[in-house]
Symmetry: C2
Subunit: 311 residues, 2 copies
């Protein structure tokens, strides 16, 4: 978040890092300065104009409304408020105009959802009917400790699992992200289904989703198959993707150009490629995405929302 702020239009503003007692008092590097971390307290927001929350749902639920009461606008990275009808859920390239409806809190969507909707949004022009998505999600989505877990397991095949994942993640894939909920879905899958409908303003959109953790450090990938109402060609889809802000078209199989975590990591733009169509089906389109879930999937999107608030 600080790295993204440092290259945003807020770079020169005063930044106040807040954290629990465990981290309060420590220093964080920011540009050529060092920022002192203050304690997250109920009255910590009295001088704050804009508060970026990224410490989990329960912290957001407790301190978010307090920050609003003290006059701050909250941009929340947790899932606490995303499906609240009074809270705009924003991907600026898609629904920036909905920001103005905020009542103090604006929600930043789920990382896999942001990456996907960037490519789905332009397809609404063809009458988006059904989406089937399988994800290939990096371990860093489970936190810094998960990266160390993967690294340690990669060099030691006998290392036991844990604590970030229930099984070894090196040399394995897990059809499980977040936690299981009723009906057999994971919460991550429900987020992708419900948040996509809200962001795209398509409450009836059929979204089928399988969320999978893969032994990759950074950047999520997604295999997406859509069905639309009106005929579309591969060339039309490629042109649409190429001109969509936030996306970069990487689609030249003959020279092995396609999106992958290796090239998406550390990059703002989400890569889209492998655009193709089942034979004789002009109502269907298949493609592949890779995007840095820590940048566009999280911190970058949050800061972009802030930039739209204060243009």
């Amino acid at each position: 978040m600080l790295t993204v702020l440092a290259r945003s239009r807020f770079a020169e503003e005063q930044i106040l890092p807040l954290a629990s007692a465990r981290s309060a008092g420590s220093q964080l590097p920011y540009r050529d300065q060092s920022l002192a971390v203050s304690l997250l307290e109920p009255d910590a927001f009295s001088d704050v104009q804009l508060a970026l929350f990224s410490a989990g749902g329960s912290i957001s639920k407790t301190f978010g409304p307090q920050a609003v009461e003290q006059g701050a606008i909250v941009i929340d990275n947790s899932s606490a408020f995303r499906m609240d009808p009074d809270v705009p859920l924003i991907v600026p390239e898609i629904n920036a105009s909905a920001i103005t409806q905020h009542q103090g809190i604006i929600a930043n969507p789920n990382c896999s959802t942001i990456i996907m909707v960037l490519a789905l949004a332009p397809l609404r022009a063809f009458g988006l009917k059904e989406v089937v998505v399988s994800t290939y999600q990096a371990v860093s989505g489970a936190g810094q400790k998960a990266i160390e877990e993967l690294r340690n397991q990669q060099v030691d095949p006998n290392l036991a699992a844990g604590p970030s994942f229930p099984y070894r993640i090196a040399d394995n894939v897990l059809p499980f992200v977040d936690c299981f909920v009723d009906g057999g879905h994971t919460r991550e899958e429900l987020k992708m289904i419900l948040e996509t409908r809200k962001i795209l303003e398509l409450p009836e959109l059929l979204v089928r989703c399988t969320c999978v953790r893969v032994p990759v450090e950074r950047a999520h990938s997604e295999a997406i198959s859509v069905t639309v109402e009106r005929p579309i060609t591969v060339e039309q889809a490629r042109s649409l993707f190429a001109e969509t802000p936030g996306l970069v078209l990487e689609d030249d199989p003959t020279s092995h150009r396609y999106p992958m975590p290796l090239s998406a990591s550390g990059r703002d733009a989400v890569g889209v490629g492998r655009v193709r169509q089942p034979e004789q089906r002009s109502d269907q389109l298949d493609f592949w995405l890779s995007g840095d879930q820590l940048l566009k999937g999280a911190a970058l999107n949050a800061v972009q929302i802030a930039e739209r608030l204060h243009p």
Copy 2:
């Protein structure tokens, strides 16, 4: 292949390993013996009843028909004859009866296809209409050298890619298996589409497929979404899967029981789980598979075909 033969009903038969001049003369361990590798020559099959080919399409095309002329029945692991209308394409649990139509050559299907059709076959009872599949394919599908490549990259983040994959595969996923063909699909994807139709005897079945290589040593996984003509429940699907030979139902999210490469590696049965349904869609079903592509996806299926030939 030898490991599977050693536990088959052919264990006590005479085994004659054939290879190119590079390997001829070497010894291969087999049970408590050592087998001398002979040179693969045009007249090498004169005393052979059953020939298992697993050396690539061009070797099969050259030597397969010669073996048949000399009186052998050929079970071919390559893709050379799979779509030939005169060649049965067999997964014994599904279409063993088609074996009898052979004219000397029987084809063993693509590894990802075998794993998938085991679960699709019982769903034909509900009128299988459409299949969307995303694969998570292990590097051993690209050969022994690919495993070493992954291992070396895992311990050295600066190691350059190659020769098995065009980019690093450690910490990466590649939406690319085999090679690209016209229309933007990979050949692996076309195999899954066309072979599935032939094995299931559903020539019109719509199959949409994205084949992806992941940094896993062994066992392929697949996220599958199907649409059927007649209503199905999750419980019906679970019961069907549980009683299907070749499958094992691993579906208990609350105790973190689901298929994954870690548990599927080295096991004959293909694991199926994460069975679920979009809300209010009794014509749709989503599930997840993991299966050892070197066993059921290749050697085991070939030897099972042989066992059906000589019951």
